[in-house]
């Protein structure tokens, strides 16, 4: 069964309980504190060690009847794409699709090449930095799959591996709801069967429309560019770009054919030139 997240941003109150729950459950280290001045967002982005990120968008517009302000909040996460750029790019087979249809990184297979990082159209995956000798388990996304001390030691001290949301694979195998959805106090993050979630999301858009709120779904249907629908999709009330989501993403592998074709033409041309030059000179 395909499971996923429906993140309804109209219900988000920006409490960051999802961020905290994710860090706690997955034993992800702190990324340090950096004051950004960007509304209440000092987390800034998803990373190898931050798998939920609450965006705060404070908008103020001056109109004829006075100042209007709007405060949008949205908890971002790995999209678990139908056709995932990271999964296709991974040269080791570390990135797999598991039985819940989620995109999952096996940290013991990952070799830290970083190709998934540049192949994610949403900028989700990142390398977890090298092991920190102070004793923080920086490269241990492995803890998601294994909490055994010897495995921690086996992976410690080596270069980074790629990290991102696992859709709480371990919790799911035990029948638990992923940590972020479990902790969300407003049901802004809903977990479940993707088909059911999509149905629920479409109803929600209609309900909101009835109340005069214009909302759109992002990723419930095909996002285009060959990526297909997303298993973790969103209900938004502004353009996707306002939430740092791409309006026109592209699946990287769709660019391969053009590349190999033009390279082949170049090779053929140069080989003929070389043949002629060596024959006649």
């Amino acid at each position: 069964m395909a499971t996923g997240f429906f993140t309804d941003t109209t219900l988000c109150i920006g409490c960051k309980a999802c961020e905290v729950a994710c860090k706690q459950w997955n034993e992800l280290p702190s990324d340090g504190f950096e004051f950004t001045g960007n509304s209440y967002d000092n987390t800034s982005e998803l990373s190898g060690t931050t798998w939920r990120h609450v965006a705060f968008i404070e908008q103020m517009t001056l109109e004829e009847d006075g100042l209007h302000d709007r405060w949008l909040m949205s908890s971002d996460v790995c999209k678990h794409c139908t056709n995932a750029g990271c999964l296709e790019a991974c040269p080791t087979g570390a990135i797999i699709r598991n039985e819940f249809d989620s995109v999952f990184i096996q940290p013991d297979v990952c070799n830290g090449c970083g190709y998934c990082v540049v192949s994610c159209p949403f900028g989700v995956v990142d390398l977890i930095e090298k092991f920190d000798p102070q004793g923080h388990h920086y490269n241990l996304a492995s803890l998601v799959t294994s909490r055994r001390e010897e495995e921690r030691t086996a992976l410690a001290g080596h270069g980074g591996v790629a990290g991102k949301c696992t859709l709480c694979y371990d919790r799911q195998t035990l029948g638990f709801t992923p940590a972020c959805a479990k902790a969300c106090p407003t049901e802004s993050i809903q977990f479940g069967n993707v088909e059911e979630l999509r149905e629920r999301a479409r109803e929600r858009v209609e309900t909101l429309a009835g109340r005069g709120v214009s909302a759109q779904l992002y990723g419930a249907d095909d996002v285009g560019g060959g990526i297909g629908p997303l298993n973790a999709f969103f209900l938004l009330t502004d353009r996707p770009e306002a939430y740092n989501l791409p309006a026109q993403p592209v699946l990287p592998s769709t660019r391969q054919r053009a590349g190999y074709t033009s390279a082949a033409i170049a090779v053929l041309g140069l080989a003929i030139a070389g043949w002629v030059i060596f024959r006649n000179a």
């Binding site: 950004t36 960007n38 800034s44 982005e45 965006a55 968008i57 750029g85 296709e88 790019a89 991974c90 040269p91 080791t92 087979g93 570390a94 297979v109 070799n111 830290g112 090449c113 970083g114 190709y115 540049v118 192949s119 994610c120 159209p121 900028g123 995956v125 990142d126 090298k130 080596h158 270069g159 980074g160 353009r239 770009e241 306002a242 740092n244 791409p246 309006a247 026109q248 993403p249 592209v250 990287p252 592998s253 660019r255 053009a258 590349g259 190999y260 033009s262 390279a263 033409i265 170049a266 090779v267 140069l270 080989a271 030139a273 070389g274 043949w275 030059i277 060596f278 024959r279 000179a281």
Partner: protein, 328 residues
């Protein structure tokens, strides 16, 4: 070359209404994508991969010569094997641990240029190794019976695999979610092939001069000129077609470095030097200096081209608007 708009002027998907353009919102101008974590080791890997592939082509086309190109073929085969063997080592400095390289040999994935590329490298190393062994067996450095290790088809096979290794390094960049690299999906792979062959010719000329094999140098230089001219044409067309997506590559400090080291010093200068060599009969020592200089310039230009591609990719990843609306 023509100036492309700066990122501020770029209008990726801006909405135009009644002649007024509303800029695309962004999330506090923060990057949407993650920048590549690739440094000198990956740049070197791409650079040497191109040369290695080019040498594969050279050892094949040398076969068409009516003269005796045994020495050139031997040099090309030995050098290509050395580069092929060095490349995994360079990659390992990026991966951290040697056994991490082996993780890539668990699977073959046609949708991943890095996966097929690694297999291309492995097979190329095999073909180049067999051809090198034959060469060394013929001249008696290795036992003579080993010359049968590489039957005739190994020569075109190495060329084919070489063409692939020189190509895939370009596809590896362009088949990503990076807007600049993606905008070069047609140009970057072809450019990689041309630059790889030009560098391979330059390295072969340099080694031929050192070996005293002067007769082959003019042929290599002619091929180098063809590859260099093709590279320039592709660069010009790339700048025209990619527009604002290629701003990080062609503009600013990065663009200046590309123009100085790759275009002027790395391609135009060796073109002029090689034309001079073809037109005027210089005294032998002077000609050797000319070849050496042209070769070093071409090789430097090739390295800076790869460095520019990687560094411009890092800048492009930081531009959220380019990433919001990807080139096709």
């Amino acid at each position: 070359m023509r100036n492309v708009p700066s990122p501020d002027e770029a209008t990726f998907g801006a909405i135009s209404r009644n002649g007024e353009t509303t800029p695309v919102p962004s999330y506090y101008e923060r990057p949407m994508l993650k920048a590549p974590h690739w440094e000198w080791n990956v740049i070197t890997y791409l650079f040497l991969g191109g040369i290695m592939g080019g040498l594969g082509l050279i050892q094949l086309v040398a076969d068409s010569s009516r003269g005796d190109e045994r020495m050139l073929k031997r040099t090309a085969r030995v050098t290509s094997f050395i580069l092929a063997a060095a490349n995994p080592a360079i990659l390992i400095t990026h991966l951290g641990r040697p056994e991490r390289f082996l993780n890539m040999l668990r699977i073959v994935k046609f949708k991943s240029p890095m996966s097929v590329g690694v297999w291309g490298l492995v097979f190329y190393t095999g073909a180049a190794g067999a051809n090198m062994t034959r060469e060394l067996a013929i001249i008696g450095i290795l036992p003579r019976r080993l010359r049968f290790i590489a039957p005739g088809f190994m020569t075109p096979l190495q060329a084919l695999l070489g063409a692939f290794t020189a190509s895939y390094t370009g596809v590896l960049l362009s088949a990503t979610a990076n807007p600049f690299w993606g905008s070069g999906k047609r140009h970057i792979p072809a450019m990689s092939v041309c630059s790889g062959l030009a560098s391979a010719c330059a390295l072969s000329s340099l080694l031929s001069v050192l070996e005293g094999n002067h007769t082959v140098v003019p042929k290599l230089e002619r091929l180098e000129m063809v590859a260099g001219a093709a590279e320039l044409a592709i660069l010009a067309d790339f700048q025209r077609s990619a527009g604002a997506y290629a701003t990080p590559f062609f503009s600013g400090e990065r663009g200046k470095k590309l123009r100085t080291y790759t275009i002027v010093a790395g391609t135009l200068a060796p073109l002029a030097l090689n034309l001079l060599g073809a037109a005027v009969k210089l005294p032998k020592p002077v000609d050797a200096v000319r070849t050496t200089l042209a070769s070093i310039l071409t090789l430097t230009g090739g390295y800076i081209l790869r460095e520019s591609l990687i560094e411009a990719g890092k800048s492009s990843a930081k531009d959220p608007r380019a990433a919001f609306r990807q080139p096709e």
